[in-house]
Amino acid sequence: MEDVKGISRRAVLQAGAVAAVGAGGFVPTRFAIGNTAKVKVGFLLPYSGTYAGLGEAITNGFKLALEERGGKLGGRDIQFIAVDDESNPAKGPENTNKLVTGENVDFVVGPVHSGVAMGMVKVVRETGTITVIANAGAGAATGPLCAPNIFRTSFTNWQTAYPMAKVAMERGMKNVVTMSWKYAAGEEAVAGFEQGFTKAGGKIAKQILVPFPQEEFQANLTEIAALKPDGVFVFFAGSGALKFVKDYAAAGLKSIPLMGPGFLTDGVLKEQGAAAEGLLTTLHYADALDTSENKAFRGAYRKAFSKDADVYAVQGYDAGQLLFQGMGAVKGDTGAKADLIAAMEKAVINSPRGSFTLSKAHNPVQDIYLRQVKGGQEVVLGVAEKALADPATGCKMG
């Protein structure tokens, strides 16, 4: 009896030791099964079409963040699976499913297009897959549709526009025309500005919405000239931003200050040339930010990809950091979802944009910079709004 008991006790101890050693090389305490499997990270990003460059920058930034940290997540090797979302909202759910149920990924990182994000959110809310939005600024994704497993390392459209209202007021503008494409991102940005501006006593002379993605603005520019506002706030991005800024200057409107979220110049500043001179923009990042983190990041990015980093690369980089911190806290155990989410919620991201934390709705609480084009360069004038959190209207979390 005694013997048997002793043996059995020893056997238990031995078995425990074996298990501990077996898991030990990799994940010492939490993990027993599946420890050799790689962590699957799925990218749902545009790799073709107009936004291809943005998808590439996010992917590069994400990989750079992990390479700098040993190339592992919670001690486990990583397998990347990329799906081209084609910036096609109609295919959003289908493409997300490819990753979530088809490839059974542990994490989803993406997308650029807000419409795709809405489709993606629908799917991952049901599957519970931990998801990091690395660009799309649609307020709803972390507003009414927020969920514990949905995070964002980019911005909300409101966040990039609201601080400009204060700037406009300070510069003596009382009467402003707003203009944008008639689609979610533009309408949210314009609404953010208008909310701040009217609250501060300003008047919106007119809100102009043009069909997306039309780029024939001449009729509206004539209208703006006739209205003679003190300033014009617009949301445009990419080719629309390039065209609008050039047309604005050509129509002789340069005497009326033009402002907008930073996408108005990011990526197209060089092509806009003299037309962009004096433009005021607000954004959570600026290439020229004078911090050691930003310089180190930009240097490393240039070295790795022989290309200059941009705001999209930063958002990808920070998505990598966020997952690294979360997975570090649970030592690679993706099964410990609640702990993983809790760790991600508490993360402090040491971003090239300046360090930030996440709000209860899982949005970055971040500084918004005021930038101006001077001599063909984007100059950082200062911080327009410190530690700005999205109001996340409609989010019941936290």
């Binding site: 073709s48 107009t50 291809a52 780029e215 024939e216 001449q218 004539t222 006739a226």
Partner: protein, 286 residues
């Protein structure tokens, strides 16, 4: 003030219409006269814009770039006709749609691979980079006026070539009875190849000369293509006169729609199309 505002908006509309006509006229030649549904027409517009952007960088002159991109777009158009489109004249429209849709995808991807996904702009030539002041606040860019003038001259020229010359007669005859024209000793293959090349060159020219007022990006031809089909359908398939009137109508409807009924701006163009087709189901001239 109100008068000037109205006048300048009308000018905006006419200018937009003229540009649309330049693109649509090539389409009406190919679609209306040769009977080929060419969805790749917008791709030629994009090609012209990219060629102009590239050549303007190489030569340093937009004028030279536009003049060079015109024959280049035409030559590429001729090559595509000879290699691919030629086999489709007697085939179903569905086959043509399939082939030319494939061409759109290939063109879009090829431009992205060649010039990248970035957006490009071309500067307005210094000599034309100024505005005419119409009132104390309203002024009009000279480049846009020049653009309108070029389009107007081409519109008249094309009308005369198609209706008054032997070449125009062959084209019209070849379209309605290919075998008969061939029997008369006219090289119909060459004739159709040339017409297709001219259509491509016109689209390319429109793309090239509009580079200073548009942004050069992959896929830029897609939205133009839809408007061109609207113009051709309104005007009556195959009619140059119809394409011109249709383009004016669309240009003005779009401009005034944006200003006076902005909530319906996405629909004004299609509303006009629906109204015209209810009244004249086959278009204005057919």
């Amino acid at each position: 003030m109100d008068f000037w505002f109205f006048l300048i908006q009308a000018l905006n509309g006419v200018q937009y219409g003229l540009l649309l006509f330049l693109v649509a006229s090539g389409l009406t030649l190919i679609f209306g006269i040769m009977g080929i549904i060419n969805l790749a027409h917008g791709a030629f517009y994009m090609l012209g814009a990219y060629l102009a952007y590239w050549l303007a960088g190489v030569t340093g002159s937009l004028t030279a770039a536009v003049l060079l991109s015109l024959p280049l777009a035409g030559a590429i158009g001729y090559g595509i006709e000879a290699l691919l489109v030629r086999t489709l004249y007697r085939r179903d429209h569905l086959d043509q749609v399939l082939l030319t849709y494939g061409l759109i995808l290939i063109f879009n991807e090829a431009t992205r691979m060649t010039w990248g996904a970035d957006v490009h702009g071309v500067a307005v030539p210094a000599a034309l980079n100024w505005s005419i002041k119409l009132t104390d606040t309203l002024s009009y860019p000279v480049y846009r006026l020049m653009l309108s003038a070029v389009c107007a001259v081409l519109a008249v020229g094309m009308y005369l070539v198609i209706t008054r010359t032997r070449f125009g007669m062959w084209v019209r005859a070849g379209a309605s009875n290919r075998d008969m024209v061939a029997a008369l000793g006219i090289n119909v293959k060459l004739l159709f190849g040339v017409v297709f090349a001219i259509g491509a060159a016109l689209a390319g020219l429109a793309g090239a000369i509009s580079t200073p007022i548009t942004s050069v990006a992959p896929g830029m031809g897609d939205s133009v293509l839809i408007l061109c089909f609207v113009v051709v359908v309104i005007g009556g398939v195959g009619s140059i006169k119809g394409a011109f009137l249709g383009a004016m109508l669309i240009g003005l409807a779009d401009t005034f729609g944006k200003v006076f009924v902005p909530d319906f701006a996405s629909f004004t163009v299609y509303g006009v199309m629906a109204a015209v087709l209810l009244w004249k189901p086959r278009g204005l001239f057919s």
